[in-house]
Amino acid sequence: MLSRFQYFKPHNLNEAVQYLDKEANSFVLAGGTDLMILLRRNVINAEHIVDIKALPETGVFEYTEGTGLKIGAAVVVNRVVDSEVVNSRYRALHQAAASLASFQLRNRATVVGNICNASPGADLPPALLVYDAVVNIAGPQGTRQVPLHQFFTGVKRTVLQHGELVVSVELPESGEGDKSIYLRQARLRGHDLATVGVAARVKPDGKVAIGIAAVAPTPLRLFALEDQINARGLSQETIEWAAEEVKEHIHPITDVRSSAAYRLQMASVLLKRCLLALIAKED
């Protein structure tokens, strides 16, 4: 390891926040699947690593009727993949989690870490966005809640201030007749970041929600497009229209994974496939 740092594993949240606040170059460690690579390459000036896995708040993983799903910051992705509640009530999240990286990495990588890393192409944000996820943040000034769609501020940037950490993410209740799907395009079947990732949800009242990744500096919730779709009513014609219209709502770039033109086209194709799957009659 090139980086040189002190390791601190607090057992309560106050201790963690105070340490993060006091030490300038301190970084939060949960699963480490992103952080360890930055440390190994010595690309961040880390002098203090704060392991948050012993905080009681970060270990929470529970579904409560009427309240919804709470995922603590130490909950690893494979726990979500294996969860019957997630599989049945938050289908898109199950699918996105199961497609993230490799099996071994999912044994370490956390759901909250995938949010905090703020990669434009992360798999979990589209699925979390369609479920109106809210991020619970603790810091020197106390706690605050930020809707996930306001959490990302740019490539690898979030609203988190010095001394703050994300304690958990919450998803409101999802009940009967609530359907969702996550589809991703990647260069290979294995473990690559998505070239484009799309999550779509149809709520029991027929209203649509769409989340999309790798087509803008941050993962996006496409509220304006949703409004237009909902105004037209979800039908085969609306889906054909939306698959073209989505291109007006995203701003992909050309990079190592794809050209911007291909991303536009795949966003269109994936959105169409998602919405068609959601209106298909169940067998």
Binding site: M1, L2, S3, T33, M36, S102, L105, N107, R108
Partner: protein, 178 residues
């Protein structure tokens, strides 16, 4: 030759000079207590500190699976786990598979199915497969492929590895009553 440097890919751990942390864990059934550099990876700890050279480093970034070990029942890539994160953990490395000098069924089947050539990835494959079979003695082909897909092999084309795991399932059911 320094046997720490058994391979050209291996990156030496550079001591950070920071205060050591006392680490206590169980490796292959043996209690181990050592003072470790906080910036040392679990992979480097296993190799440099307790001289278990079976666990390999290749990419060093969690992409290839060569350094896979079993930590508290889960297959993890030890190159991107800090040694200090393993406080209190139960660790199994490839050295923990053979018992009393006799190879395990899984290891025997890797040999008889020609599931290795250069062998560099093999410890990682063995540990991913072991963790799977410990939690699910009768996985489907899809489950085996999913679990092993975090391990890269440039020699075999993977089919012999898949066959070795499937043969192991049959034999463990027959011989160990799993």
């Amino acid at each position: 030759m320094d046997n720490n440097k058994d391979c050209s890919m291996y990156t030496e751990h550079v001591d950070s000079g920071k205060r050591k942390v006392t680490l206590s864990l169980t490796v292959n059934g043996h209690q181990v207590v050592r003072d470790v550099d906080p910036s040392m990876s679990l992979l480097h700890f296993l190799r440099d500190n307790i001289k278990l050279f079976g666990t390999k480093e290749a990419c060093g970034e969690g992409e290839c699976g060569a350094c896979t070990i079993i930590m508290n029942g889960k297959a993890v890539t030890s190159c991107i786990v800090l040694a200090v994160e393993a406080e209190g953990a139960q660790i199994t490395t490839v050295e923990g598979l053979a018992k009393d000098g006799k190879l395990s069924i899984l290891q025997e089947e890797f040999i008889s199915e020609d599931a290795l050539q250069c062998g560099y990835c093999t410890p990682g494959f063995l540990m991913s497969a072991r963790a799977l079979l410990d939690s699910n003695p009768n996985p489907s082909d899809e489950e085996i492929v999913e679990v092993l897909s975090g391990n890269l092999c440039r020699c075999t084309g993977y089919i012999p590895i898949l066959n070795a795991v499937k043969r192991t399932i049959e034999r463990e059911q027959k011989e160990l009553g799993r």
